[in-house]
Every structure is written in structure tokens, then in C-alpha cells.
């Protein structure tokens, strides 16, 4: 434990001491992820850039008081999340942040219910009404690659804010669930619901895309 924390503790000490290399190291390591998270809250490039910059200034003024109760990474991302929320409200974005507290809106099935046989079906209630088109094996082909990625990026940007933030951190940044819960102040169950809704929606979009381009 002591060994694991020492590299980070060392970085914090160097930053406190005014070591520019330590600052550059942190900025390089986290700025892209910070910007991604800021964009999830306020999808305007220039504003996101601004929020990240503000965050780094807050890190400098706050580093003397940083007590190491969480990791430096979590601490920095929490600063960003708070600032991005404030900024989103100031920019009068119509983003419903209460979604983050209560993602359980009724009736948001992962797949259109019309795709399944009715509950009254004598043999196969709730089973696929017709077999799924198979595109999973070719989805990552280099030929379709660039355009598919464009579609995916656009649809990610269109997800409701709370789903977008969770999918961006989990699947784009590859964070573990526990870290996402910590930074966003979400319960594990709510985090999973948001991830599920977001992924299900993106899958449906890819399905339509591959159907149109088959």
C-alpha cells in the first residue's frame, strides 16, 4: 500500500514544491480525459476547454490543502465535475442533472418491445419475433471503421447527459465502475442503469446503421 501510493505522493510533493515537470506530467496524463468529461456536461468545445483550464488552476490553489484521502486523480476529476455542472447551468443548457440522482424513468426498454413476440404467445412469449441480423463480427472491419466511428461519436453526443457521462467514462476512458461512482456521486446500481441505457441505445443505433448499409 505504502509502495503503491508513493509515486503519487511523490508527484504531489513535487507539485507543492513548484516542480514544473510534475505539473506538466499531470496535465499530460489527465487533460484529454478531463476534456472528455467536461464535454459530456457541456458539449461545446471552447467551454469544455475553459472548464479544464479552470480545473487546473483550482488544482494549483488547492494542492496545499489536498489531504490524500482520495487519489489525486479522483480529487482532480471531482473538481472538474463540480465546475462543469456549474458551468452547464450558467450556459443555460437544458440538461437534467437530477437524472444523475434518479435514472429510473419508466418505460425505457433496451429494445423496442415490438421486436418480441407478445406475452400471450402460446410457445415463445418474449422471444425475438424474427432472428437478429448478424453484424457483430464485421462491425470492427477496417473498411467500415471510420464511418462507423463517426456514427458512434455523434450518437454518444446525443445521449442524455447522465448516460453520456457514464458511457464516456466507462467505455471511452475505460474507468472501473467504482471510480465512476466516486467521481459522479452515484450508487453502483444507478451507475449500472445509466450504463445499460446508454449502451442499449448505442447498440440500437449501430443496428439501424448496419441495416441501412448492408
Amino acid at each position: 500500500m505504502v509502495e503503491m501510493r508513493s509515486a503519487e505522493a511523490d508527484l504531489v510533493d513535487r507539485l507543492r514544491g513548484g516542480d514544473e515537470a510534475a505539473f506538466v506530467c499531470l496535465v499530460n496524463a489527465y487533460s484529454a480525459s478531463l476534456k472528455r468529461l467536461a464535454l459530456a456536461f457541456v458539449p461545446i468545445e471552447a467551454v469544455a476547454e475553459d472548464v479544464v483550464q479552470d480545473t487546473w488552476l483550482a488544482v494549483l490553489t488547492g494542492i496545499a490543502r489536498f489531504e490524500g484521502r482520495s487519489s489525486v486523480k479522483t480529487w482532480i476529476f471531482k473538481i472538474l465535475a463540480n465546475r462543469a455542472k456549474t458551468r452547464a447551468i450558467r450556459e443555460r443548457r437544458t440538461i437534467n442533472f437530477s437524472e444523475l440522482d434518479d435514472p429510473f424513468e419508466p418505460d425505457q426498454p433496451a429494445v423496442d418491445p415490438a421486436r418480441f413476440l407478445p406475452a400471450s404467445h402460446p410457445m415463445w412469449p418474449g422471444h425475438w419475433a424474427s432472428p437478429l441480423d448478424t453484424w457483430s463480427a464485421s462491425a470492427e472491419d477496417a473498411v467500415v471503421g471510420r464511418e462507423t466511428m463517426g456514427v458512434l461519436q455523434r450518437e454518444l453526443d446525443r445521449l442524455p447527459a447522465s448516460q453520456r457521462v457514464v458511457v464516456a467514462l466507462r467505455d471511452v476512458q475505460g474507468w472501473p465502475a467504482a471510480e465512476v461512482c466516486d467521481v459522479l456521486g452515484l450508487s453502483e446500481a444507478n451507475q449500472r442503469v445509466l450504463l445499460h441505457r446508454g449502451r442499449s441505445r448505442l447498440r440500437a443505433v449501430l443496428e439501424n446503421y448496419f441495416k441501412d448499409n448492408a
Binding site: 513548484g18 514544473e20 505539473f23 506538466v24 496535465v27 487533460s31 484529454a32 480525459s33 476534456k35 472528455r36 468545445e45 476547454e49 479544464v52 483550464q53 487546473w56 488552476l57 494549483l60 490553489t61 426498454p109 433496451a110 429494445v111 418491445p113 418480441f116 415463445w124 412469449p125 418474449g126 422471444h127 425475438w128 432472428p131 437478429l132 448478424t134 453484424w135 457483430s136 463480427a137 462491425a139 470492427e140 462507423t148 466511428m149 458512434l152 461519436q153 454518444l156 458511457v167 467505455d171 471511452v172 476512458q173 475505460g174 465502475a177 453502483e188 449500472r192 450504463l195 445499460h196 449502451r199 442499449s200 448505442l202 447498440r203 449501430l206 443496428e207
Partner: protein, 80 residues
């Protein structure tokens, strides 16, 4: 397990949070349903594709202004 239930618990399955009993029902269903196996593979492909989205980094001007801010901060620390 019906297909309509499987698509709702699939994230729990992938996250490893599905209770043992439901995990068993999930896997039993998969073994006999080609469409649900495809659905699971579509989810996995989606997750891999999403992981390849690139993140735009900071503009060089922002980095420059951050470094200037850092130097001002450092110098003010020294004075104190």
C-alpha cells in the same frame, strides 16, 4: 429466461453483478438462442468500438496559458 428479459439484464451479466441463479438462467438461454448470442456479441463489439473513440486533447494555446499560470503560481508561492 426470455429474450426480452435477457436484453435488460445483459449489462449486469457483463459487469459480473448478476446473481448466480440469474447468471445460470442467462447462460442456459444463450446456449439455445442464436439471436441472443448475436446480441451479446453486438454489445461486446459496441464496447470495443466505443473504447476506440479518440479524445480530443487540449489546444496548444491552452497548454501554454496553463504553463504561464503555473509559473505565476509558483513565483507567488516563493514570495510567501
Amino acid at each position: 429466461m426470455a429474450c426480452q428479459e435477457l436484453v435488460e439484464v445483459i449489462t449486469g451479466y457483463l459487469e459480473g453483478t448478476l446473481p448466480e441463479f440469474d447468471r445460470g438462467r442467462f447462460e442456459t438461454h444463450l446456449a439455445s438462442c442464436a439471436s441472443c448470442r448475436e446480441y451479446l456479441e453486438q454489445m461486446r463489439a459496441l464496447i470495443r468500438l466505443t473504447g476506440k473513440l479518440t479524445t480530443r486533447s487540449l489546444e496548444p494555446e491552452t497548454v501554454d496559458s496553463l504553463l504561464s499560470a503555473f509559473r505565476r503560481w509558483r513565483d507567488s508561492q516563493t514570495v510567501l
